[in-house]
């Protein structure tokens, strides 16, 4: 019990959110630095002084991600076949969510049910006022009261920690980097030959930049993607922790995860685009390598939850 108390003191509710926002700024800075660096090398290698490619990449990425930012919740709910419920439809689930919201001091989100026997849940919405939480019928039927509560607390923590907004920003950056890298690799083949004729003196320097550029263009999208996945996994641990802080019962979520692990049933309607939103990876059973997964391994999460309760 002593460990629980220590943990609780360390993980101050508001300071954790502040820390998240701070980390977000830090990561954004890293991503922007990568983009600027890539853009610099790119323009040096191509002799393009307008940085047109960089702006193009950022604008395209921003545009596509803005759509997911403003309509992402509706898309996610629609593609997963979630149906909105009211208190009358399912007072049990509604009250669980309502009570958790009282305990966390957030507004009650819209609640959805997905007709699917697999145990899973997801949260979406760019801010707590616009959040939605969806659970599968499998979760409602197969999980005990405190297990379902743990699951819902995890989802509500995603909302409270502004994870959806944060992951959207990360997606903009990763998108910009990979578009930039793509432009670079393609345009090199189109304009590469002509340029060396144009500029005799800078030829050697341009060639060096070209080599560096190619290496960067190949590596940076992979690195960016890996950072994104690592962030996504970190947010899962964070949601596990802040969810436990809400219910004061980490064992509830741990047991729920155990049941999910034992079942090992993938969700019928899942897409890679919405995978990071779910409680556990909706594609489980397809054995993803952990480095390329949006979620940490379930055993690892259970272990962490158990140390919280010990």
């Amino acid at each position: 019990m002593i460990r629980v108390t220590c943990y609780v003191i360390r993980e101050n509710m508001y300071s954790q959110i502040t820390a998240n926002k701070r980390k977000s700024v830090f990561l954004m800075t890293i991503f922007i630095a990568i983009i600027i660096g890539l853009g610099y090398v790119y323009s040096k290698a191509m002799g393009d002084t307008t940085y047109g490619g960089v702006w193009f990449a950022i604008i395209i990425s921003l545009g596509s991600t803005m759509i997911s930012y403003f309509a992402g919740d509706k898309i996610a709910l629609y593609t997963s076949g979630a149906k909105a419920i009211t208190k009358e439809d399912n007072a049990y689930v509604y009250r669980l969510v309502e009570n958790l919201c009282i305990a966390s001091g957030t507004p009650v989100p819209k609640i959805y049910i997905i007709n699917d026997p697999a145990i899973n849940a997801f949260a979406t919405g760019r801010k707590p006022e616009l959040a939605s939480v969806a659970v599968t019928t499998g979760a409602i039927e197969k999980l005990e009261n405190e297990e379902l509560e743990g699951v819902l607390a995890h989802e509500l923590s995603h909302v409270k920690n502004y994870d959806i907004r944060f992951m959207t920003l990360v997606a903009v950056m990763v998108g910009a980097i990979s578009i930039l890298a793509n432009i670079f690799l393609r345009s090199r083949f189109f304009f590469g030959g002509r340029r060396s004729n144009d500029r005799e003196g800078g030829g050697q320097l341009a060639a060096i930049f070209m080599i560096v550029g190619v290496v960067l263009a190949i590596l940076s999208p992979i690195v960016a993607e890996l950072i994104k996945l690592a962030i996504s996994r970190r947010r899962e641990y964070l949601a596990d922790a802040s969810g436990s802080l809400l219910t004061r019962y980490p064992e509830g979520l741990a047991k729920a995860l155990e049941k999910i692990q034992a079942e090992n049933m993938p969700l019928r309607q899942a897409s890679t685009a919405t995978a990071h939103l779910f409680l556990v990876n909706p594609f489980q059973g397809k054995s993803l390598k952990s480095l390329f997964s949006t979620h940490p391994p379930i055993e690892e999460r259970i272990k962490k939850l158990r140390t919280m309760g010990a």
């Binding site: 609780v8 003191i9 101050n12 509710m13 508001y14 300071s15 007072a91 009250r95 309502e98 009570n99 958790l100 009282i102 305990a103 966390s104 001091g105 802080l245 809400l246 004061r248």
Partner: protein, 188 residues
């Protein structure tokens, strides 16, 4: 840089620090107060539900007059403690726990009245009340979280010096769940 400039910069920084610290403390304090009123909302909901419950149950439970009287008394006592500005946190808590205890006793006794258990009205009330109990617990947890944050803020260095000067004092935590469990044991 002249010594005057340095002094001015230091004083300026100090003033800024004081402003930020003070505003931060006020914000935390308001969060605690807000959490307190959240608990009040739920407590009030429970006070409002009890007369309905007594009305519904009265017709069926002819042999339990005493339990019902106790319940009404406990409600009155809890409301009195709640509205008394001089009552300490512990006193309020004791009164609320007493009320929870009598409610639990009442629901335990209803097991002997099958007709009552069949009444839709009663079942709905029972449901509402137990939900309110859960909500009271949740609101208290939120309150405790806010109190913890506020207490930490005014205790850490160097804010503690300033908080002491401004007469910011620690808030008390709720320890309801433990007390409630014991209360029930006494009742049975």
């Amino acid at each position: 840089m002249t010594p005057t400039t340095i002094v001015l910069i230091v004083v300026g920084l100090l003033v800024l620090w004081i402003i930020f610290t003070y505003n931060g403390l006020i914000r935390s304090k308001n969060q605690v107060d807000e959490a307190t009123s959240d608990i009040d909302v739920q407590l009030k909901r429970r006070y409002d539900l009890i007369p309905n419950l007594v009305e519904t149950v009265k017709g069926y439970m002819t042999h339990e007059r005493e339990t019902l009287v106790k319940l009404t008394e406990a409600r009155t006592a809890a409301m009195a403690a709640h509205n008394n500005p001089n009552a300490t946190m512990a006193q309020k808590e004791a009164a609320e726990n007493m009320l929870s205890g009598t409610l639990k006793t009442l629901f335990a006794v209803t097991e002997n009245y099958p007709e009552l258990k069949a009444s839709q009205n009663f079942l709905q009330l029972q449901d509402e009340i137990s939900d309110t109990e859960n909500k009271i617990q949740a609101a208290r947890r939120f309150y405790n979280g806010n109190v913890r944050d506020f207490n930490t803020k005014i205790q850490v260095f160097p804010t503690n010096i300033f908080a002491g000067m401004m007469k910011f004092t620690k808030y008390e935590f709720f320890q309801a769940s433990e007390g409630e469990r014991q209360n029930v044991k006494v009742q049975f």
